[in-house]
Symmetry: C2
Subunit: 247 residues, 2 copies
């Protein structure tokens, strides 16, 4: 198995989730194989960053304003390469919006969440994707632009009010307040898309908190809830990284 490099810490619960998913994927992969002793695991280097630094050093639309932020991530990727990583995973959706800048000078594959979700959509006949996530994710055209080449049509909640409601649910889930969150998400989804669209649309849970609303879904790439079809982007991303590592 190839050595995996993980950019983590943004935030730390998400890092735990990705690390767990990769280790459990390795357990499953080796289940019926003849191994002596503990199940083989890929070696993994994790650079866990300080989210307080990354949030306080976000840029704006001013040219050059992202310089410090980009360098902070880019130097973490370089350290992972130095540690022998053969492929890189960024264990968070939000930093993907500046994937090109933070991967500068990195000559090993950085497996983006967009490519993982795009491939998954192609394998599962998904053509329309409603993306829910943090405000930067829902306000960035990145998911839309990156999934275009996969033939997937991406939409976001249309109004600022709907986006705000999603962000509030993410904040509740971050504090482990799961009560009623699943049906609140269902409701927002149904206010975003018509009943007709609902049957052909998959809802992408585009951050690690949102799947916490749906009990028992933490290991599922996709699942249904109250007539809505969901895709768990962290699971899809982590599993595609493990596949690349084991290939």
């Amino acid at each position: 198995m190839k050595k995996i490099g993980v950019v983590g810490g943004v935030g730390w619960p998400s890092t735990i989730e990705y690390y767990r998913l990769i280790c459990e994927a390795s357990q499953l992969f080796h289940k019926d194989k003849d191994v002596s002793g503990p199940v083989p695991m890929p070696e993994i280097s994790i650079e866990s960053l300080d989210m307080s630094f990354t949030v306080n050093n976000r840029g704006s639309s001013e040219p050059g304003s992202w310089k410090e932020w980009d360098e902070y991530f880019n130097s973490a990727l370089k350290r992972l390469v130095k540690c022998g990583a053969e492929l890189i995973l960024i264990a968070s959706v939000t930093p993907h919006t500046r994937l090109k800048e933070i991967s500068k000078g990195i000559h090993i594959p950085v497996i983006s969440i967009y490519d993982s979700v795009g491939s998954y959509c192609n394998s599962n006949g998904i053509k329309d994707l409603l993306v829910l996530g943090t405000m930067p994710t829902m306000n960035s055209p990145m998911f839309k632009d990156a999934l275009g080449p996969f033939g997937v049509n991406v939409s976001y909640p249309e109004t600022a009010g709907m986006k705000e409601k999603i962000v509030q649910i993410i904040e509740r889930l971050y504090q482990n307040q799961t009560d009623g969150a699943a049906s609140d998400i269902d409701k927002i989804v149904k206010s975003c898309i018509s009943e007709k669209e609902l049957s052909s649309t998959t809802v992408c849970l585009g951050c690690t908190e949102l799947p916490l609303a749906f009990e028992g879904s933490s290991n599922l790439s996709g699942f249904g809830h109250d007539a809505v079809r969901y895709l768990n982007s962290s699971v899809v991303h982590a599993l595609s990284v493990f596949e690349a590592c084991a290939r």
Copy 2:
């Protein structure tokens, strides 16, 4: 805060536990401090190793038989130093038995679980410690030797049969079978030491699985259960590393 280097993966659930404890310690540390945005976190580099390699390359009493094992760990520590770690934590009790060998050429502090537990015993008036853990931990004189200078008298379960029972409970807990494990541990403790000794002895849960038996104890350095006083070595170790990092 200083950058922490973590040797992980042996096993991976233990790495999650240590990482979570350190991040939550940082949240608690910054609770009433005036910070803008997310809570500051120490930067952390983790080198997650392949436990299947470490177990299959364990040495024996033959001279030189630990060479490969020692080098595998030592090179991980060196990578952590290269990544800018300013102090190192080995997120597992068992590798501590070869701490001297695997720290060769490392010129930053490696905060050992023995020192963390020793300091905790001194601060809490603990003089007698019964150590439960994996077979290598219970068969090695390391806990005894390392806690001597702290004035702490260490004992292990006396018979091979008692040790075997502890190992069986660890295996059950590793598979998340917690039912009845707490009272089984209580029973073994009471068969190891007399009622008179019980009142003056603290039982060191010397691996990350054993505390899982006691619901609600995962964040506690020490707790009581059915007249037995327990010490959770992972919590004590993780918190002392965070203290050193924040100092």
